[in-house]
């Protein structure tokens, strides 16, 4: 248990020591999105009826930040340790693959939620926002950060070079977040895009998270949470199997 706690602590300390880059920078990015898109797209993009676009946008931006930062934390930490070779410090001690998985994913959740909270804190002043169902917000925040953290761990395991990880981030994570309904309501999309969006697990996270704020969404939050949880389960299973086999970590 102490091994797991230490690894978790080390992972949190790692991003906290460079918090300007890992926390402040993504918060500023999200604020810029709100200021620019919030004004430019007001009235042009479909939001939920009765809700102004900027208010609709904020939960999306928070969720996008949670996802990107949770993913970045586990993936870049593991990747850097592999490149610099200091991964041996965690491979030599008696740390089980389950402890390893839990520590990295939990630290990713912390980073995701810290950044998410930061984004909320700076954007909430610009919009009229209430938490209609805070438990849903929390549940989707946690589940989504966990899923992104586990995905990041898999990306970190597979990548041997920085550009491989960048490819994963830019060609998988970024399109999936951008097309998940962060900036628009998926219902307003023409076919086949609306239908295709339903194959994107990130869509359910954004929709469920938004439900927590407005009490309305494109889908029932129960259905969304079930899909997010199932995705997390499968991604975690794959990740744990990779870690158990020692793939690309133990030769």
């Amino acid at each position: 248990m102490i091994s797991f706690q230490t690894l978790f602590y080390k992972e949190v300390l790692r991003f906290w020591k460079v918090s300007v880059q890992t926390v402040a920078a993504p918060v500023l990015t999200a604020l810029l999105y709100l200021v620019i898109f919030g004004h430019a797209l007001e009235g042009r993009l479909a939001a939920f009826s009765g809700i102004d676009y900027a208010s609709f946008l904020v939960p999306g931006l928070v969720m996008m930040s949670v996802l990107q930062n949770a993913f970045a934390n586990s993936s870049s930490s593991l990747m850097q340790s592999k490149i610099t070779g200091n991964i041996v410090f965690v491979l030599l001690p008696p740390i089980s693959y389950l402890e390893f998985f839990a520590a990295y994913v939990l630290a990713a959740i912390v980073r995701g939620l810290v950044v998410g909270a930061g984004v909320m804190l700076v954007t909430v002043w610009f919009v009229d926002l209430h938490l209609a169902a805070p438990l849903w917000t929390l549940a989707f925040g946690l589940a989504s950060a966990a899923l992104a953290g586990a995905l990041g761990l898999i990306a970190g395991i597979f990548s041997d070079k920085v550009d491989q990880l960048a490819a994963f981030q830019n060609f998988v994570i970024l399109p999936l977040t951008m097309l998940s309904g962060v900036f628009y309501s998926v219902q307003a999309l023409p076919e086949p895009w609306a239908r295709l969006s339903h194959f994107n697990p990130f869509f359910y996270m954004v929709d469920g998270f938004r439900y927590g704020f407005f009490g309305i969404g494109d889908l029932s939050p129960w259905l969304s949470l079930a899909i997010v949880a199932a995705s997390f389960f499968f991604v975690s299973l794959l990740c744990v199997l990779l870690l158990r086999s020692g793939y690309k970590l133990r030769w």
């Binding site: 248990m1 102490i2 091994s3 706690q5 230490t6 690894l7 602590y9 080390k10 300390l13 790692r14 020591k17 460079v18 340790s81 610099t84 070779g85 200091n86 041996v88 410090f89 965690v90 491979l91 030599l92 001690p93 008696p94 740390i95 089980s96 020692g246 133990r250 030769w251």
Partner: protein, 250 residues
């Protein structure tokens, strides 16, 4: 493989009776490894690095021991310096300290002196000898045969991944090498029935391989019998390099 960094295709390994796969927690707790590469985590200071490493082994509040290890490795002054700011030799010392945080009974040193300056090398050996005296088993891998000869009590020689020899240092030296005798005589011929094996000859100067000191004695007796005068004589003790070359040569 012993440390769990690689997997065995076949066979098994154990650290003090703990199988490295089935009982990996116990095996790894008993093992400290100093890796060959100069690796470090640039996010942390020396003390943080050692505290975190202790935690990985399930140890909290390890500062007394950490201070002691840092003291012996001359790291105390750098305790709060970031790892990035340390010189190569200092980083190497931290790696040694990291391998010792959990007081492992078995310590693996993987070429610890490769590219290390003289001062650190001597300090390191002093500390390692102390650990050895205190009851730690030290496994040293090295390319420097003098190091092996000077510090090791048992030596395994590897060739192309196979053990070519495994014995106590004294036995290895005795069984494979023998002494080398350099002789300069007053004539260009050795007496009949002279012991040993002539390695080279240049006029009246001979280099001979002798199996043991008895042969040295009988060689001298033969020279006396034949009334040969010795102008110059030198006996070289066996060294591991001869053993190694002979074992792996052909």
């Amino acid at each position: 493989m012993i440390a769990g960094l690689a997997r065995a295709d076949a066979g098994s390994a154990a650290v003090m009776g703990a199988d490295v796969v089935a009982d990996y927690r116990r095996a790894r707790r008993m093992l400290g490894v100093v890796p060959q590469e100069l690796v470090f985590d640039p996010f942390f200071s020396v003390r943080e690095t050692l505290r975190i490493q202790s935690g990985y082994y399930g140890i909290r509040g390890n500062d007394a021991w950490i201070d002691e290890v840092m003291h012996h490795l001359d790291l105390t002054a750098k305790a709060d310096a970031n790892m990035r700011s340390l010189s190569g030799g200092m980083k190497r010392r931290v790696l040694v300290a990291q391998a010792l945080v959990h007081k492992p009974p078995v310590i693996v040193l993987d070429e610890p002196t490769a590219g290390v300056d003289v001062e650190l090398r001597q300090g390191l050996w002093q500390f390692v000898r102390r650990l050895n005296r205190d009851g730690h088993t030290i496994v040293l891998t090295t390319h420097y045969l003098e190091e092996a000869e000077a510090y090791c009590s048992r030596i395994a020689m590897l060739k192309a991944g196979r053990v070519a020899a495994l014995d106590s240092t004294a036995n290895l030296l005795k069984s494979f090498s023998g002494s080398q005798m350099k002789l300069r005589l007053d004539r260009e011929q050795l007496p009949q029935g002279f012991p040993g094996e002539v390695v080279s000859r240049d006029g009246a100067a001979f280099v001979l391989k002798l199996k043991n000191f008895q042969e040295v004695e009988s060689a001298l007796a033969k020279l006396r019998e034949a009334n040969v005068e010795i102008i110059e004589m030198e006996l070289q003790p066996p060294d591991l390099e001869d053993v190694f070359l002979r074992l792996t040569g052909k």
